[in-house]
Symmetry: C2
Subunit: 311 residues, 2 copies
């Protein structure tokens, strides 16, 4: 059993067809081929912290994966990162530990961003004049990075509440092939963007109205308290897609909308969309929404792929 460091993991990432790996994972998941038990949790009060143990496997695959991740939000007081994470990979036929990817939660960020790119690939209107990014953090940057190969559009409007964070974001992309416009006015996003990606931990809706011909990928909301999109927008949408119907019924945007009367009955899964088992966007006037809460199969797929190139 070897431990691989974050640097080693990063060194092989560009060899992997991440979109293909995560798509295959979503397909297996929607076809009922993935076993994902309930998340294990530990809570601490002083200082406050949470630990999550996510684990599972694809039936008849070679491995099972256990991901252990923590968030202790006072760590910065001690000069430490708030979160730690690692993925442990085991042989599915023998239980033998194969490797520990000590990725410090980096692979979770990547598989989340790649899932966003997949939603845009299958659900965005054919012509995107502007991409809208809601938020200025790690995920707001990674989403744009992984959209680069998926969407032709290189004009981006980024919304945030903090002027300095917005400027920093724009600076950080100054050498990229994106042309970044920053704004604190959410209407700039709603009026001009055909592909919007929400990447904040907001607990109050930021997007409260929507124009025809828009796709929203909702990445930020993954708990029972977070919400970035007002509930009526989900009812108004022509197509609502979940990464996992069973998870989205209990957390994220769909969960919030259900409380306000939205019905799950027409919600499809991204793994069904990818396979063409359900209808996709039918024209450039429709409104589509993809709600991502993060599924363990994404962890399984990315860790497997990374290990393949590390070995």
């Amino acid at each position: 059993m070897r431990i691989f460091s974050l640097d080693e993991i990063k060194s092989v990432l560009n060899k992997i067809n991440l979109v293909q790996e995560i798509e295959d994972g979503f397909i297996a998941y929607s076809n009922g081929d993935v076993i994902v038990p309930p998340v294990g949790e530990l809570h601490f009060e002083s200082p406050p912290g949470d630990v999550h143990i996510k684990y599972g496997y694809i039936k008849n695959d070679n491995v099972y994966v256990i991901k252990i991740a923590s968030g202790f939000f006072h760590n910065s007081n001690f000069g430490l990162p708030n979160g730690y994470g690692m993925m442990l990979i085991y042989d599915q036929k023998t239980g033998q530990p194969k490797a520990i990817l000590n990725d410090e939660s980096f692979l979770t960020d990547i598989r989340t961003a790649v899932a966003g790119a997949i939603s845009a690939k299958y659900l965005a209107p054919s012509k995107v004049k502007y991409i809208g990014i809601i938020g200025t953090g790690v995920q707001a940057r990674l989403q744009l990075k992984y959209l680069n190969d998926i969407i032709d559009c290189k004009s981006v409007i980024v919304w945030g509440r903090n002027e300095n964070s917005l400027k920093k974001y724009k600076d950080d992309f100054s050498k990229s092939n994106y042309k970044i416009t920053i704004t604190k006015d959410i209407n700039q996003i709603i009026e001009r963007c055909q592909l919007i990606v929400t990447c904040t931990p907001s607990e109050n809706p930021i997007i409260t109205n929507i124009n025809p011909g828009t796709h929203i990928t909702a990445m930020g909301s993954d708990t029972i308290t977070k919400q970035e999109i007002a509930s009526p927008i989900l009812s108004q949408a022509d197509l609502v897609v979940a990464d996992s119907r069973s998870q989205c019924e209990h957390r994220g945007e769909i969960y919030q909308a259900i409380k306000d009367g939205f019905s799950m009955k027409d919600v499809v899964e991204i793994g069904e969309v990818i396979q063409g088992k359900v209808k996709r966007r039918e024209n450039d006037k429709q409104i589509t929404i993809a709600d991502h809460t993060g599924v363990a199969v994404q962890d399984i797929q990315i860790s497997k792929a990374v290990l393949k190139y590390l070995n």
Copy 2:
């Protein structure tokens, strides 16, 4: 974060006062100071295998511990051990991983044997003429090893079904200070031994009657199907002790006896016995039974102690 090998772990074990560490753990557990969420599980069918994730922490301690252990019972076909196990130790204040003890389930065996020694320490009659060991496997050997410092008696009768296994057991102890007698007749154990330790995976009672003045430590039965002691013996006993009341209600000897009419109401916990919070054995005529199903706090205590000496 460092990984420590089985050899490194073994090298520090004799520096640790294991009885003290595990006793402290049982006390904390019985006093409600230990957080132990439900065990995480994965099951595989072809080949058959199980994975258990046990985790928890003592309140206001320095660490939390996650133990991952597997059993794939066809592994010997591939020349591999059937079980793998490791303990991951994290800082309770920050979530930072401190160490991985890649102990290959060795520490689980040790903490189980030490728990048996603790039961004998507090519950065995004052005069033990013969120790009875039921079983000839790893735990049947370790129990005797850890009883050595606890009980003066060095005369041992070992029961097993297989003649070769019995002879091998006797040979293996030929250089020890124990005098081993082997038998396939369970009555030899019941009639002559005042301290009996059951160490088999039997699903049918092996001990079906008992004499006054006997203590039984039941180590083997830790699932909903295993049983080594006939249910009426628990009802007949003067004192029944559980390592964890909540666990023993759902697995092990007490669980089996409850199905046959035994009442939990007088069952006490070993952590209460150690502290003298409840009555112990009152004379050498009483029958006492300790049911051990294995509690995560034993893993927490032994891994913490090992890490202290490894660092």
